[in-house]
């Protein structure tokens, strides 16, 4: 039985359809393809076709533990999927807003395969059910508020007409349970924020997009426009100023059509200023603009106010609109490229302010959990190392090595030469794995399915390969790199995208692509004995980053060949040493720095600093005024890992 079944009795035809659905499962991955590959899962081989939009998916795959923010986003994605929909969860149990999982399995390729087998049976039998439970979650609730299409800052809780332009206010849904000044729903999910109607119930989101009036202006000044009585529009005859009326018409004396005019109560008009009662069709008064811009009323015309007109003139609308680079005051829309976007690292939320197709502004943040290193009490070495390596699923070994080296440094223990070589081999293997994972993401962004598949399969093979297997895999990697270098138009597509200037914030391949040579390995005696020299380019764009990573893969292969051994780092027993220590390890994304203090054999304080935290701040300047495709490519080329970002 699947929770997200569709209404209907399982009759003959529906049985056939249910079987067809069971055979053709389309899946949507949470948190993302790179995490699935990091856990060693090959979803396509297991028989589920991955799709880019939750609408096209029939299965929601949740891989590994994810943070509450990501779980809320996953619940929004689940709500968007068309029924019948199923939930396959691997390796985690608590999924607060999501319904109970239809199939749970352990986090491995074997677990995935028999999880999918169970799912096919559940689909064949349970795709249609007479009584259907409806999925509802707190963040899907909505509060209706009314806003004016032309003045998004005018927001009221009950219907009516806009005080500034008299247009009928238009209902808009806003997430009910968040109170911050962000007017529209904040829970950014995968990629769209659309309302949608299931047959059974309606959990709308604030739908924004092309209806410009519903898009969200970030006007913090949200006060309701006070409808002041002072200046309202009256109609007067150009020939006989003493004829004053509240509605348009013709002058009783000369029959000319009356001209609209803004009545200033302080105006020293000859005629007695009648008290202007509220006009029926929405008050036309152009009350003083709060931000004191060019005040519309005070045009120095000959008393006859051309600009003012019975309806909203366009100048007021476009006056305060931000101007794009070509000088045209266009409407900007905020589009969330949410935590599970197929082209971006999973867990990263990129909210772009789009001016048509170009990025006018951006804000990036990670939704991954900010794991505290030391929860409460001091930690045993083993549990501390385990905690640090679980923190970053994309490069667990590097952080494990970092923890071991930091503790050994604090306890003053020297590692043997053989162990050091083994650790170098393990770190280099992880660098190759991580770069292959990035290549898979890069292939997905470029639209190369062949690169996505080959890089992912190599990555899965490399993850737990020993020395002999690596040597056997060497020709495959070399041929993949050669083919990438020969791909036509790849250079011209990547040259000049996301160009970075020299900046000491940069770390790892991103820094080396700009020419900064701060590789932590060059100070490591073991590496220098193996003849290691850092590779660097200087053009600093997406192409240079690609080339640096490709060179690093072949360099790491040569280093593994030189070390001759691979064994994952084990924490040396530090007995009951006390003292402070620190370590610097060149993770695949850059140098990570850990400081910790030991007290009779237990870790008391720890302070970690990771490369992705620094690279997150680069995004805004990087993608300013870029086209959408280039912006996403530039962000992808930074190889961010939202998991290691420390807020």
């Amino acid at each position: 039985m699947i929770v997200g079944a569709r209404q209907g009795k399982l009759s003959g035809l529906r049985q056939l359809v249910a079987k067809a659905m069971a055979r053709e499962l389309t899946g949507f991955l949470v948190p993302g393809l790179d995490i699935a590959h990091a856990w060693g899962l090959d979803v396509e081989a297991a028989g589920v076709r991955l799709v880019a939009s939750p609408r096209h998916a029939s299965v929601l795959l949740v891989v590994g533990d994810i943070s509450p923010a990501l779980r809320n986003a996953a619940a929004v994605i689940y709500a968007q999927m068309a029924r019948p929909r199923a939930l396959l969860v691997l390796g985690t149990d608590d999924l607060s807003p999501l319904p109970s999982a239809d199939v749970t399995a352990e986090l491995s390729q074997h677990g995935l395969i028999d999880g999918i087998a169970q799912l096919r049976i559940a689909f064949a039998e349970g795709a249609f059910r007479p009584e259907v439970a409806d999925f509802d979650a707190p963040m899907l609730h909505v509060r209706v508020e009314y806003t004016c299409p032309m003045h998004p800052e005018v927001v009221q809780d009950e219907p009516g007409s806009c005080p500034k332009c008299g247009m009928t206010l238009e209902p808009r849904e806003v997430s009910a349970n968040d109170v911050d000044t962000h007017p529209h729903e904040t829970h950014d999910h995968h990629n769209e924020s659309h309302g949608h109607q299931h047959e059974s119930h309606d959990h709308p989101h604030e739908a924004h997009g092309h209806h410009h009036e519903t898009h969200s202006h970030q006007h913090q000044a949200h006060e309701h426009q006070p409808v002041d009585q002072g200046a309202s529009v009256e109609y007067t005859c150009p020939m006989h100023p003493e004829v004053v009326q509240d509605e348009p018409g013709s002058c009783p004396k000369c029959g000319m059509t009356l001209e609209p005019r803004k009545a200033q109560n302080s105006q020293a008009h000859a005629h007695a200023s009648l008290d202007h009662s509220e006009m029926d069709h929405g008050d036309m008064d152009h009350s003083e603009m709060d931000h004191g811009g060019m005040d519309h009323g005070e045009m120095d015309h000959s008393g006859m106010d051309h600009g003012d007109h019975a309806f909203m003139s366009m100048i007021d609308v476009t006056k305060d609109l931000p101007r794009s680079s070509d000088g045209l005051p266009m409407d900007w829309i905020d589009v969330p490229f949410g935590p599970f976007f197929p082209g971006l690292p999973s867990g990263l939320l990129l909210t772009l302010t789009l001016d048509g197709d170009t990025v006018a502004g951006s804000s990036a943040r990670t939704l991954a959990e900010n794991v505290a290193l030391l929860h409460h009490s001091a930690l045993e070495p083993h549990s501390f190392v385990a905690r640090l390596s679980n923190l970053e699923p994309l490069a667990p070994l590097a952080y494990r090595l970092l923890a071991c080296q930091a503790m050994e440094n604090a306890a003053g223990i020297k590692t043997t030469a053989v162990a050091a070589h083994g650790r170098v081999g393990a770190l280099e293997r992880e660098r190759i794995t991580s770069h292959l994972g990035w290549l898979a993401l890069f292939g997905q962004q470029m639209g190369f399915d062949w690169l996505l598949r080959r890089a992912a399969s190599l990555q899965l093979k490399f993850q737990h390969a020993n020395y002999q297997q690596i040597m056997a895999l060497k020709p495959d990697i070399v041929s993949l790199i050669k083919r990438l270098r020969r791909t036509p138009l790849l250079k011209s597509r990547n040259a000049g995208i996301g160009r970075l200037a020299q900046d000491n914030v940069l770390r790892g391949p991103v820094a080396r692509a700009v020419g900064i040579n701060n590789d932590a390995r060059s100070t490591n005696p073991v590496y220098t004995s193996l003849g290691f020299k850092a590779i660097s380019r200087d053009s600093g764009d997406s192409l240079a980053r690609l080339q640096v990573r490709l060179d690093e893969i072949s360099q790491s292969l040569a280093l593994i060949d030189a070390t001759g051994a691979i064994e994952p780092p084990e924490p040396a027993n530090i007995g009951s040493a006390t003292g402070a220590g620190e370590a610097l390890v060149e993770t695949p994304r850059g140098a990570a720095h850990l400081q910790l203090t030991l007290e009779n054999g237990r870790v008391v304080t720890a302070q970690l600093e990771t490369p992705s935290t620094r690279h997150l701040t680069l995004i805004d300047a990087l993608i300013e005024q870029q086209s959408l495709g280039d912006a996403l490519l530039a962000v992808g080329s930074l190889d961010l890992s939202p998991w290691e970002i420390r807020q």
Binding site: H306, G307, H309, F311, S313, M314, I315, V317, T318, K319, L321, D326, G327, L328, P329
Partner: protein
């Protein structure tokens, strides 16, 4: 009184009337351009009707329709060029604000 011509000519007249209404009543330059397009479309219908019923053998009638099509294209192109320039200058393409255009 040639009834065969009536359907086409009446359609042409109707499009012409709607085009005139649109051109005069709309306050936005773009909608005004659409009114003009309808007027030209009305003209084209009449041309083809006359060619079909009265002088089918002379291709000049058809050639004239091509000219009207080019006029439609040219009028739209220049109209939008002016609209963009005005939109950049004062942020509005409303006919009401056109009063300030000097010269």
């Amino acid at each position: 009184m040639t009834p065969e011509l009536f359907p086409a000519l009446i359609t042409g007249a109707a499009l012409f009337g709607i085009g005139i209404y649109g051109a005069l009543s709309q306050t936005n330059l773009v909608m005004l351009l659409m009114g003009v397009e309808l007027i030209l479309a009305g003209a084209m219908v009449n041309l083809v009707a006359f060619w079909h019923h009265l002088h089918p053998d002379t291709p000049a009638g058809q050639m004239f329709v091509l000219i009207v099509m080019t006029v439609m294209a040219v009028e739209m192109a220049v109209g939008f060029g002016v609209a963009i320039a005005r939109f950049r200058a004062i942020g509005s393409v409303e006919m009401e604000e056109a009063a300030e255009l000097k010269g």
